[in-house]
């Protein structure tokens, strides 16, 4: 099980000339569950966005399944779970409709959904424990259930690689457990996972390797580091804010 699924070599990413990632090299092989850890602003989300081609890299190379990112077309092999569901313009959509979008990578734009598509959507809804909410508008779900909807959408495409951006941020305990279970099943079936996390929580036993990003560089690559200081205490409650509040108002960007 040493086939490389993701290879980043000397990757550099900058927004408007400000470097966010400087010289990142990372390899994820088939069957691994790699967590990218780091503080806010360390560039960990940018790293997975660069892997997926959502932000351009200014130097270095990204290779997916042995193909340079620019020539990679087998998107059905990848399931992407963004941080949160966009609010959209208020047009309602059911949980099933959102999850069904996950089949498009496999089916293409022109072919109407068939029996296999419906079965895969049912299976994905079941895997995250949302089968009974399939017909409900996603806007009526809790934050954790919406996150599970997005995971089901990625699973519906039956990918080989799951890429998740902070899947447990602001998610209730029940949803975190449901999510950890879905992830375990996915890995047991031979899947590969790359996820960004701030804290691992119930995911910790599933993770096989941790990569810590600090100031745009990889500071650690190996075993999952133990929480330091008072974070390590068993009854530690995480109470400090995870990022500075942005000034809310008309003029904030």
């Amino acid at each position: 099980m040493t086939t490389p699924v993701i290879t980043v070599e000397h990757g550099v990413v900058g927004y408007d000339g400000r470097p966010v990632l400087r010289d990142i090299s990372l390899t994820v092989t088939a069957g691994e569950v790699v967590a990218i850890l780091g503080a806010n602003g360390s560039g960990k989300s940018t790293l997975i966005r660069a892997v997926l081609g959502l932000v351009p890299i200014s130097a270095g190379t990204v290779t997916l399944f042995d193909r340079p990112l620019r020539r990679f077309r087998q998107w059905a092999r990848i399931g992407y779970v963004p941080q949160r569901l966009g609010a959209g313009g208020g047009v309602p959509a059911t949980v099933r409709e959102v999850v069904a979008s996950g089949r498009l990578a496999r089916r293409g734009v022109l072919r109407p959904p068939g029996r296999a598509d419906r079965a895969a959507v049912d299976a994905a809804l079941g895997a995250v424990g949302l089968a009974d909410r399939a017909g409900d508008p996603v806007s009526t779900l809790s934050g954790g259930q919406q996150q599970r909807t997005l995971i089901a959408r990625a699973l519906a495409g039956q990918p080989e690689l799951l890429v998740l951006d902070e899947p447990t941020a602001g998610v209730d305990a029940a949803s975190q457990e449901a999510f950890a279970g879905a992830l375990r099943d996915f890995v047991a079936d031979g899947g590969t996972v790359l996820l960004v996390a701030h804290e691992l929580g119930p995911l910790r036993p599933v993770i096989s390797r941790a990569v810590v990003v600090h100031e745009g560089r990889i500071a650690h690559d190996g075993a999952v580091p133990d929480p330091a200081g008072h974070h390590a205490e068993p009854d530690h409650d995480h109470v400090h804010p995870h990022c500075y509040d942005e000034p809310a108002g008309l003029w904030s960007n």
């Binding site: 959502l54 059905a76 963004p82 313009g89 959509a93 059911t94 979008s101 498009l104 734009v109 960007n253």
Partner: protein
């Protein structure tokens, strides 16, 4: 009802019904991507096309389709670049479009009645050739919007996810832009440049108050658009009012009726079923 024995009234009715069906089928994607007013902007640009057509003695509708397409694609490029100055660029396009239209119409031999026909619609002057154009283009819009619903939904709902799914995002976005331009130009004859957005957006706004899913919203919005177009033309014929304005006012009246009825229904249901207070989720943090 005997008014509808006249061919020009039949053409007016059929034209309005086609647009009533097609405009919300496209409009739902525009509402979902928060571009509810884009139809207005494209309409302004189309007016320059009308002016150019009148000046050059070409079919105003044809030149307007070209101008509106260029405008819609330009707006899409500005949108996809995501620059903060996007709304200023759009403002320039809108006002440039309407000023250009007024200027060019003024230069041509056309009268202000001609300009009014495009600004506020002129259903009863639709010629058989116009009706063919409206029916063919309207059917094309309708088929495209329904057949590509899963892909267009995905792109409008979550563009980044659509990109990672390998969907041809840019092509789909341009398709929506061009479809907007075409819909605006055929709807121009029915409700006029200044009221086009209403037919695209108001039925969707009405439908989404009571629907739960995207597909049901689309179906309900199309039914509402069809109803507003039909009854608007009927009101215009019997009460001798402006057809375009009548259609839009029927659509807005439906919105108000549904909004009020929906509100009453929710209050009644809440009274009828004494709801248990939802159990709150456990606190994630302990604030000491």
């Amino acid at each position: 009802m005997e008014l509808f024995q006249y061919p020009y009234m039949q053409r007016a009715l059929i034209g309005a019904l086609v647009i009533g069906l097609a405009a919300p089928a496209l409009g739902i994607y525009l509402v979902q991507r928060r571009l509810a007013l884009i139809g207005d902007g494209v309409g302004h640009v189309a007016l320059t096309g009308v002016g150019a057509g009148l000046l050059l003695n070409r079919s105003p509708v044809l030149v307007a389709v070209i101008a509106a397409t260029i405008g819609a694609v330009a707006i899409e490029i500005v949108r996809s670049r995501g620059r903060t100055s996007g709304d200023l660029a759009l403002a320039l396009l809108f006002y440039g479009g309407i000023a250009g239209g007024v200027l060019l119409v003024g230069l041509s031999d056309a009268t202000s009645a001609n300009l009014n026909a495009y600004l506020f619609g002129s259903l009863t002057t639709i010629s058989p050739a116009d009706l063919t154009t409206i029916a063919v283009l309207g059917a094309a819009i309708l088929v495209t919007m329904i057949a590509l619903r899963p892909a267009l939904f995905a792109v409008s709902h979550d563009e980044e996810y659509a990109r990672v799914s390998g969907l041809p995002v840019r092509t789909l976005n341009l398709l929506i832009a061009v479809a907007t331009a075409v819909t605006v130009t055929i709807a121009m004859r029915a409700v006029g440049v200044l009221l086009i957005s209403a037919l695209m957006v108001v039925p969707v706004a009405t439908a989404q108050q009571v629907t739960r899913g995207f597909r049901s919203t689309m179906a309900a919005a199309m039914a509402l658009g069809f109803f507003a177009a039909g009854s608007g033309v009927w009101v215009a014929a019997t009460a001798d009012t402006a057809p375009g304005a009548s259609v839009v006012l029927v659509a807005i009246a439906s919105f108000l009726v549904v909004a009020v009825a929906g509100g009453v229904w929710r209050v009644v249901r809440r009274r009828a079923t004494p709801t248990v207070a939802p159990t709150p989720e456990p606190h994630e943090v302990v604030l000491s």
